[in-house]
């Protein structure tokens, strides 16, 4: 943690960056995001198990984009999000400094995003253990049981779109749900509209989700919607060999193909 604070201070003092995004102690013993411009305030920075939020979501916010160069405290999911955003032209590599956090919580020094790529290449990627356990359980159920599970869960959704706001990849200027010519998604929060919305969200994140789980955490009704995109992330890897957020190049699952992609259902 000292290293992190020291490094952040150095970066701000030397004007290498204009803003540091990190975590600080919030109320009720929780960690929350903090935006630091003053090098003297870097002492606020913390990193521990409570720091779960994917800070990359702020990188695309209007208020943040105005700062030139930004340093971001980046556990694995944030690193991956940064790479996704770079590959999708939403972030310029020269405008970001990654203050990497290793699996053991230590500060990792990344002189460039290439080194981040190398680091990620060495780490086994996948969904967080507890989530994958639930996904496996769901996959073990019958089709009917799964349908009931999701119907019961999704029924409760009242379309607050907190999931969308929490996701670093949901940065569109106009979401498809706001499209009414044609009306792709039924507007009210009824079972059909909910199902359509979550299908849309899941498909749009296929090959782009970095399994941070923030959508699920953001849901005020605790609907485990993060499982949908996480399952798709695994599928994209198994079907196409692609993991989101491993490279700065645009090679996302659905914008590329291999002539010999293997499926077993096309007649």
């Amino acid at each position: 943690m000292d290293n992190l604070r020291k490094k952040a201070k150095e970066l701000l003092e030397s004007k290498t960056v204009d803003l540091v995004i990190g975590y600080e102690n919030g109320t009720n013993g929780k960690a929350r995001a903090v935006f630091i411009k003053d090098p003297e305030k870097t002492g606020k920075l913390i990193y521990d198990d409570r720091c779960k939020q994917n800070l990359a979501v702020y990188l695309n916010k209007h208020e943040v984009k105005h700062y030139g160069k930004i340093a971001i405290v980046a556990p694995l999911m944030v690193m991956r999000s940064v790479l996704v955003l770079v590959s999708e032209c939403q972030l310029k590599p020269e405008n970001i400094v990654v203050l990497g956090i290793g699996e053991d919580g230590s500060l990792l020094d990344f002189p460039s995003l290439e080194v981040v790529e190398k680091y990620i290449a060495k780490i086994p990627l996948g969904n967080p253990e507890p989530d994958q356990v639930i996904i496996d359980k769901l996959n073990a159920m019958s089709m009917e049981q799964r349908r009931e599970f999701w119907q019961n869960e999704l029924e409760r959704c009242f379309k607050c779109y907190a999931c969308r706001a929490a996701c670093p990849m949901c940065y569109c200027l106009r979401c498809t749900v706001e499209c009414n010519q044609p009306q792709w998604i039924s507007a009210p929060a009824h079972p059909l509209g909910n199902l359509e919305w979550h299908q849309l969200r899941t498909m749009h994140l296929t090959g782009r989700c970095v399994s941070c789980g923030d959508c699920g955490r953001a849901c005020p009704l605790n609907i485990p919607i993060h499982l949908l995109t996480m399952q798709q992330a695994e599928e994209a890897f198994h079907m196409f060999g692609v993991r989101a957020g491993t490279s700065q190049k645009a090679d996302s699952a659905l914008s590329t193909y291999k002539p010999d992609d293997k499926e077993n259902f096309i007649l």
Binding site: E144, P188, E263, F265
Partner: protein, 150 residues
């Protein structure tokens, strides 16, 4: 009881399957009447949301068909489409919606007979599975709620 007549729509590409279905016609090969064909320039144009929309509006099954791999009129549209379908299928499976109601196939402009087979098999399959009541129930409850809301 009267036999259940499923409603199917077919999303096909202009260059292979649509032409293949034309050939079925010129060859006078008969098939079931339960399918309505919708023409797209390429399978790459088919938005997965349209498949969902078809189910929401009463389709019991959807056929999606285009050029065989490497035969795409636009070189790679069908390859991109294939990835989307693979992902869409995986998602539906995980959500408990059996993707067996969506029949994917490659039918070339020369495969008139294959088209008839695909249609007949699909209709029989959906007839066996029965009407897509789960989905239609969602629509019903949607309508009720909408009415209730105003």
């Amino acid at each position: 009881m009267e036999q259940f007549e499923p409603k199917l729509v077919a999303f096909v590409c202009n260059w292979c399957t649509y032409a293949g279905a034309d050939l079925t016609g010129t060859s006078r090969i008969k098939y079931a009447t339960n399918v309505r064909i919708i023409r797209f320039p390429c399978t790459g144009r088919i938005d997965f949301m349209l498949i969902s929309k078809a189910f929401a509006n009463g389709a019991d099954g959807v056929i999606v068909s285009g050029c065989h791999p490497n035969d795409c009129h636009y070189t790679s549209g069908n390859f991109h489409a294939r990835r989307r379908w693979m992902s869409f299928n995986a998602m539906l499976t995980f959500m408990g919606i059996d993707p067996e109601r969506i029949i994917f196939s490659w039918v070339s402009a020369a495969e008139g007979a294959k088209w008839a087979d695909i249609v007949n098999q699909s209709v029989e399959k959906i007839r066996k599975i029965g009407p897509f009541t789960e989905y239609q129930k969602l629509v019903q409850s949607g309508i009720e709620e909408e009415n209730f809301n105003g």
